[in-house]
């Protein structure tokens, strides 16, 4: 094609990028419409009512930061902050390690990998509340599955009160949460590993790279975007998760596992929507920062 840097080409370049922009918006439109239409309203509604004295059946009036001030007086508030951070960090790291490790293992061409992959997904195959109710029973001091195994195999002859002791409550919640959540990481990594061309591995092997090197130079760059997204989404979900804590410990014993969603739930039981919203809204700035940072990391490549 002959390139003649004259006006006609400049015109076609402008049209090209405008057409690109148009296509871009058009393709994203259904998603934007649905999300804006159905989620934007509740999201801003929640932020708005956190500054009001709204209760069920009564819009209340604007009270500024009063709900937040009341929230701060609650001794559970400070513990919630610490617990949420611990919960998110530890479960993220655990799920990352387990999910990635398993994905690497079953990515190989071993026999029965289909069965392994399906079975590994089982913690996800039932509703969340059923999973956590089951863990509740498993953690029971007397007659719970875990203690049964521990005492009968002699690993720990005495029964452990997993959920009732301050020292073991949070670890117990973390284990159950990781069990429930790691299939998400596993499957998203497995899919990401597919995009890595095997020839690249072969080339690296020929160059003398060992397994570790191969992982860092070939695998990691290819799966990095997926790792970022998975971490971001899982962190947000864990920070907002309610069922795991509520069904296992209700935030106890003595606030050892109290987190914001459970605090918000207690607020909802008294139908004081403003207060409940304040609890959720208190978390939004932190989560929003997380979203912006990680999405920037992902989109910088464009």
């Amino acid at each position: 094609m002959a390139h003649n840097p004259t006006i006609p080409e400049r015109r076609s370049r402008m049209t090209f990028s405008r057409r690109q922009a148009l296509w871009g918006y058009l393709l994203a439109l259904p998603a934007i419409l649905l999300v804006l239409g159905l989620v934007a309203y509740p999201f801003f509604y929640a932020i708005y009512i956190s500054f009001t004295s709204r209760v069920v059946g009564n819009p209340g009036e604007w009270i500024g930061l009063d709900n937040f001030r009341y929230l701060k007086t609650s001794p559970s508030f400070t513990r919630s902050i610490r617990n949420t951070i611990v919960l998110v960090l530890v479960t993220d790291v655990a799920k990352l390690g387990i999910g990635l490790g398993l994905a690497l293992l079953v990515n190989q061409n071993i026999k029965g990998r289909g069965i392994f992959r399906s079975f590994i997904m089982l913690p996800w195959a039932m509703p969340g509340f059923v999973a956590f109710l089951t863990w509740r029973v498993l953690y029971q001091p007397i007659g719970g599955g875990i203690n049964l195994v521990l005492t009968q195999t002699g690993i720990h002859p005495e029964v452990i009160d997993w959920l009732g002791q301050k020292s073991t409550a949070m670890p117990a919640v973390i284990i159950a949460t990781v069990w429930r959540g790691f299939p998400f990481w596993f499957i998203s990594f497995l899919a990401a590993l597919q995009s890595v061309k095997p020839d690249l591995y072969e080339a690296a092997r020929v160059d003398g790279a060992n397994g570790w090197r191969r992982f860092w130079s070939v695998t990691w760059p290819a799966i990095r975007p997926v790792v970022l997204v998975t971490t971001l989404l899982s962190s947000i979900w864990t920070a907002n998760s309610f069922e795991n804590i509520y069904l296992l410990t209700q935030g106890g014993p003595s606030d050892a596992t109290m987190v914001f969603p459970v605090l918000a739930y207690f607020g909802m039981q008294t139908q004081r929507l403003g207060e409940a919203a304040a609890v959720s809204v208190a978390m939004v700035p932190v989560l929003a920062i997380l979203v912006i940072v990680v999405t920037s990391l992902m989109q910088e490549e464009d």
């Binding site: 989620v39 309203y41 509740p42 190989q108 509703p127 049964l148 918000a264 929507l273 979203v291």
Partner: protein, 288 residues
């Protein structure tokens, strides 16, 4: 010289492979066993009588009974719940895949001014927990006259699955080199054609993963279904199981039976989906 070196290297590679394979199996079996212990407990409990569940906790039933399953299917119409969940989950998954493929394609391959903002806005759907959002959502649904309907549920679930699907697909789409589509467009294909004929097939594992997430999420969701659905005939699986709990004594036998029955379709789904996760779909495509 070269031949013996090569055969020596092949020998050591073979040995490493065997070790790796055995090691892999051991780790996998161990992990699966530990991960599946709660599942084992669920299955075993679903086959026990209530008295045994409470009074004689053990790792194996003393008396096997099928009454929990019979009660679920015959008295509680659990199969209707499965049907409803199936309808909802399938609709949500298929619609979500289409819409989020478009959106992800837009966010990855196009350049336009508010791209960053668009991407982030849809993520903000997750920032407030459903335990707070259910009230404004129920107001919205009432205004749209979709109360107590599966359609309303599909709409709500769609909204919550889109951010996840879109962002994950972005990750997978980025893994496919641009050059392939650009080559196709040079050869005369349209943008959409490139999407359908090049990008989507090469991202099949990613699509399968997203389908799994969306389906599972829609299948297992409880709170919104609880608020939205009032009629027994429209209950989904989580509602069906939830309504077994009438008061402060939990019917463990039927609860666990419900969990087991509801996980069977999911296992089928996972088995089918993982068959799309086959390495090498991108190999042999760009040579030189």
């Amino acid at each position: 010289m070269a031949t013996s070196m090569r055969s020596k290297r092949e020998g050591s590679i073979r040995r490493t492979n065997l070790l790796t394979n055995v090691g892999t199996y051991v780790v996998l079996i161990l992990v699966v066993a530990i991960a599946l212990f709660p599942i084992y407990w669920m299955v075993v409990t679903s086959l026990k009588l209530p008295r045994e569940i409470y009074r004689m906790p053990s790792l194996w039933p003393d008396v096997f009974t099928s009454r929990n399953y019979r009660s679920l299917i015959q008295e509680e119409d659990f199969l209707v719940n499965i049907k409803n969940s199936f309808i909802v989950a399938t609709c949500v998954t298929s619609i979500s895949l289409v819409i989020s493929s478009f959106a992800a394609y837009s966010l990855v391959r196009f350049r336009y001014r508010f791209k960053g903002l668009v991407g982030r806005i849809i993520l903000f759907a997750y920032l407030t927990p459903t335990s707070l959002l259910f009230i404004p959502l129920s107001i919205l649904i009432a205004k749209l006259n979709l109360g107590n309907s599966l359609q309303g549920l599909i709409l709500l679930y769609l909204t919550f699955s889109l951010p996840l699907s879109t962002w994950l697909l972005q990750g997978y789409f980025r893994g496919v080199p641009r050059e392939l589509e650009e080559q196709a467009m040079v050869d005369g294909s349209t943008r959409l054609g490139a999407l359908f004929r090049i990008l989507l097939p090469l991202s099949a594992p990613g699509l399968a993963a997203v389908a799994v997430f969306t389906f599972t999420g829609a299948w297992n969701e409880l709170l919104l279904a609880l608020i939205l659905i009032s009629s027994e005939s429209k209950r989904t699986v989580p509602l069906g199981i939830n309504y077994l709990i009438t008061s402060d004594v939990l019917p463990w036998g039927t609860l666990m039976a419900g969990a087991v029955i509801s996980s069977l379709p999911m296992m089928l789904l996972y088995f089918v989906a993982q068959r799309f996760m086959v390495q090498g779909m991108t190999s042999g495509s760009v040579k030189g």
